[in-house]
């Protein structure tokens, strides 16, 4: 209960941050050259000023900045994100359609990076300064330096074009009408390369942190006590060291949630995935500012939600945190 109260307190503390982001973004987008109506008129192939004027009135763009900001924030409380003139649908609908692909991609990339990063970090720490450690640390450095979009393209060349093992893009095979398990397997096959591409840099970061954190914890007194009790090395690591060494990794998930969402913009456009990231890219290109603002809002919510979960997880792993309160 205490854990939950603490996490909820942190959640409430992030509300002012959210308002700050929204106001800042709204004002920033006012500086953008051209508005939705301009983009719409360009798409229609031009039109006279009277129509533009009428459209502006329809979308409420003829009011002052302060009035529109107030209206926008009021509507947000009811989760109304406005209307996307480009897609001809409410922004909330457009975003909800794209959200599942991004969340699925993030969860799978995070699981991949976290689990492999942990295993490699532990392996490196247990063979510190010997060849497995050197190999793993070098790999980590190289993964860290690899631009994700380039890795994605090269993976497409190797696995999709030459070996033809995996699809080069898309979220599912639209030529076949699959249901149930077959459809899930199909989506999983499409997500293998994007997951590796997005997860690679985080794998590098996690394995580095895990290695350092393992070395730190292994030098503490309670580990010596555990060894002195006559426990095997595997048991010492599994039961005593791992739980403590994982704390910095958990912190990192929260800190990097935003970076990962940003990374999905690039990865989704490499693999033509219908996700939030590609929607962000498309709305920049099409000057669909309403949608862009909506994406910023939803992304901030996502990052805050992830941090909320991380707080709970952290307090679970380290009882001292909830006891301190």
């Amino acid at each position: 209960m205490r854990v939950l109260r603490l996490a909820l307190w942190r959640l409430a503390a992030s509300l002012p941050t959210l308002v700050l982001i929204l106001v800042g973004m709204f004002l920033l987008l006012q500086l953008a050259p051209g508005d939705t109506v301009d983009a719409l008129m360009a798409q229609m192939g031009g039109g006279d000023a009277a129509i533009a004027e009428e459209l502006r009135r329809f979308y409420g763009l003829d009011l002052g900045i302060a009035a529109r900001l107030g209206q926008y924030l009021l509507r947000l409380v009811t989760l109304d994100l406005g209307f996307s003139a480009i897609y001809g649908k409410p922004v909330a609908t457009v975003i909800l359609e794209r959200l599942p692909a991004t969340i699925l991609l993030m969860v799978s990339a995070l699981s991949f990076a976290f689990s492999f990063g942990m295993v490699l970090g532990v392996l490196a720490a247990r063979r510190v300064n010997r060849w497995p450690d050197t190999l793993i640390s070098t790999l980590g450095l190289i993964f860290y330096a690899t631009p994700s979009f380039w890795f994605g393209l090269m993976a497409i060349v190797l696995f999709s074009v030459h070996l033809q093992w995996l699809p080069a893009g898309g979220f599912s095979d639209i030529t076949r009408d699959l249901t149930g398990i077959a459809a899930m397997l199909d989506i999983a096959r499409h997500l293998v390369l994007p997951t590796l591409t997005l997860g690679l840099i985080f794998l590098a970061i996690y394995l580095r942190i895990m290695r350092a954190s393992m070395l730190e914890v292994l030098s503490l007194d309670f580990v010596r006590t555990a060894r002195a009790k006559g426990l095997t090395e595997t048991r010492v690591v599994a039961r005593h060291v791992l739980r403590n060494a994982m704390l910095p990794m958990i912190t990192l998930i929260g800190l990097q949630a935003g970076t990962m969402l940003g990374g999905s913009v690039v990865v989704e456009s490499v693999f033509a995935l219908p996700g939030l990231g590609r929607l962000a890219y498309e709305s920049v290109v099409q000057r669909d500012l309403n949608t862009l603002l909506g994406i910023v809002f939803v992304s901030a919510l996502l990052v805050i939600a992830i941090n909320f979960l991380v707080d709970i997880l952290y307090a679970r792993l380290d009882p001292r945190i909830s006891a301190e309160n």
């Binding site: 700050l20 982001i21 953008a32 631009p147 380039w150 090269m154 800190l255 970076t259 992304s299 901030a300």
Partner: protein, 277 residues
Amino acid sequence: MRTLRAYLRSPAAMIGSAILLAVVFMALTAGWFFPADPLGLAGRPLQWPGANPRFPLGTDPSGRDIAAQIFHGARISLLIGFVATSIAVLIGIAMGAVAGFYGGFVDTALMRVTEAFQTLPNFLLLLVLVAVFGSTIETVTIAIGLVSWPPVARLTRAEFLTLRTREFVQACRVQGLGDMHLILREVLPNALPPVIVYASVVMAVSILLESALAFLQLSDPNVPSWGNLIGLGRNVLRAEWYVSAIPGVAILLTILGVSLVGQGLNDALNPRLASGR
């Protein structure tokens, strides 16, 4: 001196410095080896590397020399790396120093702003900035600096929080020295080493951010950026994959060089925390 010797002893630092020097060499000699406009037509498009001795790295889909674009691209990447990092470090130090030194309300307010920047995915903010202010090389560089400062601010603040109560600072305060003197001359020099090490991370991220932006064709199309070339090569990826592959290797090596130098600096400046214990 001791720091320099420690730096020179670290193999990571040596390899990193060698790679970075090679990139700097490419940037400096680009105009000498490839005097012609790297974005101008050079020959028949899509010649494989080695197929024509005039183009050791081949030509891209528009018939431009890839080797020339790699050499001139080194300038762009280094320039963006240095300028964007300087902007991020300056903003970060200013925010962190003021927040950490004064504490209280100022600290809370500045940290809220930092938090807002960290909650927002930085690439998304970068997209918005480019959408609003356009994508010339100057605006892209400034925008990258503007989205990269929050970790620097947090780091500087943490250092200031521990340093401001130390005796030597209090001694200066008793002597009646002003706040500006205390911040700039007494606390900041002691807070700098970790910030300098972290600057290498900021530089690596800046170069990656620019190349990702250029890959999406949202950066300046009129400069020979490595990311631009990867984006162009995407259209011919199935057969002529070398167009994308070559600039990617250039980015990878540059980032590797920057990270290794950062690691070497870290080992030299914080010997207690040396990475290879």
